[in-house]
């Protein structure tokens, strides 16, 4: 077991955003969290990564790093690609004396090759396309060989080919690192091409849990509404 969430509750002021949810993600497994905007998907990732505290419940992760790929890449715009990717290795207390400049260059070049962007070390994020920024943020996330990887809408805003490329990287990283991965997404292609299991959130609660093919069967009124993008169903869009 790499990530286990037990009876998690998170409130913002008096509003319950995550309402008593529990799930597990094993090593080498990709779990997709789906749901309409505002259902609490990204909040779950922020809670697991420790960016925000939870009110009650438990999050158990196996020892090692948790990496996160952010929705808008979140690359450091004042640093070039090399400095972005090597950031954790240069700045982290436990790692900064471990690597020489040559080591850093080798590691960065190796990670860039992995995401198909060799030779762009000196470019700045503003000089890269959205898809390239996303791939650099992948490289930055995996530089510390994490045990768990969290993806916040990794294919949002990308063209179909870039999305396919990103989806392939998610599967490849899962295989290479044997990491427990959680992908928050709206996109059906990302769910079907990357996920082993899917959970669907609505109003901070899990309303479906199963495999992508079970989700597509549309037995569940919530997944049926989500897959068909219908306005009719148990879920209502909040103003």
């Amino acid at each position: 077991m790499s990530i286990e969430v037990k009876n998690l509750i998170k409130k913002f002021d008096d509003k319950v955003v995550i309402n008593d949810i529990s799930f597990k993600v094993e090593d080498g497994e990709v779990l997709a969290i789906v749901g309409f905007s505002g259902s609490g998907k990204s909040t779950v990732l922020k809670l697991i990564s420790g960016l925000i505290p939870y009110d009650s419940g438990e999050i158990i992760t196996s020892e090692g790093d948790i990496a996160m790929v952010f929705q808008y890449s979140a690359l450091f715009d004042s640093l070039n690609v090399f400095d972005n990717i090597s950031f954790a290795l240069r700045e982290r207390k436990d790692l900064r004396k471990k690597y020489s400049k040559n080591d850093l260059q080798n590691i960065v070049s190796q990670k860039l090759e992995l995401v198909g962007l060799k030779g762009i070390e000196n470019k700045f994020p503003s000089e890269l396309s959205g898809g390239m920024q996303k791939r650099v943020s992948f490289a930055r996330a995996i530089v510390t060989k994490p045990n768990s990887i969290l993806y916040d809408e990794p294919t949002a805003g990308l063209d179909p080919m870039s999305s396919t490329l990103i989806e392939d990287y998610i599967v490849r990283l899962r295989n290479e690192l044997d990491a427990a991965s959680i992908v928050v997404t709206h996109q059906m292609s990302t769910i079907t091409r990357t996920a082993d299991r899917v959970i669907m959130l609505y109003d901070g609660k899990i309303v479906f849990e199963g495999t992508p093919s079970e989700m597509l069967k549309q037995d569940n009124p919530y997944t049926k509404q989500f897959v068909t993008a219908s306005l009719e169903g148990p879920m209502t869009m909040k103003a």
Partner: protein, 269 residues
């Protein structure tokens, strides 16, 4: 009863009360954040956890980039004061004390205060907007998720550069202010340079210089700390960045005046 409650909630007094309540809550939470971050920064400095490359970059930004605007503001203030004081004093027979008055004024107050205001508007605002942008674009979150201490990485070099560079800027600005005071006195009141500089040293003591240096270091650290804190806790996109920047400038101005008062009471009362 409920109609009365409803009426009261719509009244201007109640809205004013709500406004002041949120204002005081903001003051309390920002002050709390500043204190908490100061302790964290102090711990990092004591453990020598300093990114020296970043410190040099920030020193360049704080000290070198701010020089033109700081020297201009202090210089122009000195010209304004000298043009009004010198003529009057020479007329009243006090020409021999113009240099002394100008030097005391510039070294004790004008040089430090005006440099503080100039640096707040130029560097403080840029620090706040930089960190606020990093916050709203999730770059600060990315630093934390990568396991790097964001306060150590972002605050320590910026606050240290403020403490280190501000005294240099103030010394330079004060020298320019005194020289321009002499030039203006000569131009407007026909006061000789010799008369000006002979009296310039009369009222000035080493204590004035040391207090000025200490005060400028405190101002520099305060401007950087407040500006970074306001930016660090920004939220809400472009509007949040704007609000954080405004807050940083206003808070820094107020803090400078409060510190100046404290120094005046401690050292010259």
């Amino acid at each position: 009863m409920s109609t009365l409650k409803k009426y009261l909630k719509q009244s201007a007094t109640y809205k004013l009360y709500l406004h002041f309540e949120s204002y005081f809550k903001d003051i309390l939470s920002t002050t709390g954040n500043i204190v908490q971050l100061s302790i964290h920064i102090l711990k990092c400095i004591l453990k020598c956890e300093i990114n020296f490359k970043e410190l040099l970059l920030q020193c360049d930004r704080f000290g070198v980039s701010s020089l033109p605007i700081t020297l201009s503001i202090v210089g122009m203030t000195s010209i304004i004061v000298a043009s009004q004081v010198a003529h009057e004093m020479v007329k009243q027979g006090g020409g021999n004390f113009v240099g002394m008055l100008m030097t005391i004024l510039i070294v004790r107050e004008v040089g430090v205060i005006m440099s503080g205001f100039a640096i707040t508007s130029m560097i403080g605002s840029s620090l706040a907007s930089e960190l606020a942008t990093m916050r709203v674009t999730e770059q600060v979150d990315a630093i934390d998720v990568l396991g790097v201490d964001s306060v150590r990485y972002l605050f320590v070099p910026r606050v240290l550069s403020g403490i280190i560079m501000m005294p240099f800027v103030v010394i330079l600005a004060s020298v320019v202010g005194v020289l321009l005071g002499a030039f203006t006195s000569n131009l407007f009141a026909n006061l000789s340079y010799r008369a000006y500089f002979d009296s310039a040293w009369l009222g000035l003591y080493m204590k004035d210089l040391w207090v000025s240096i200490l005060k400028s270091a405190v101002f520099g650290g305060t401007i950087a700390l407040i500006s970074c804190t306001c930016g660090f806790f920004a939220s809400g996109g472009a509007k949040g960045v704007g609000l954080a920047t405004t807050k940083a400038v206003v808070w820094s101005f107020i803090a400078i005046v409060i510190w100046d008062m404290v120094f005046a009471i401690l050292f010259f009362f």
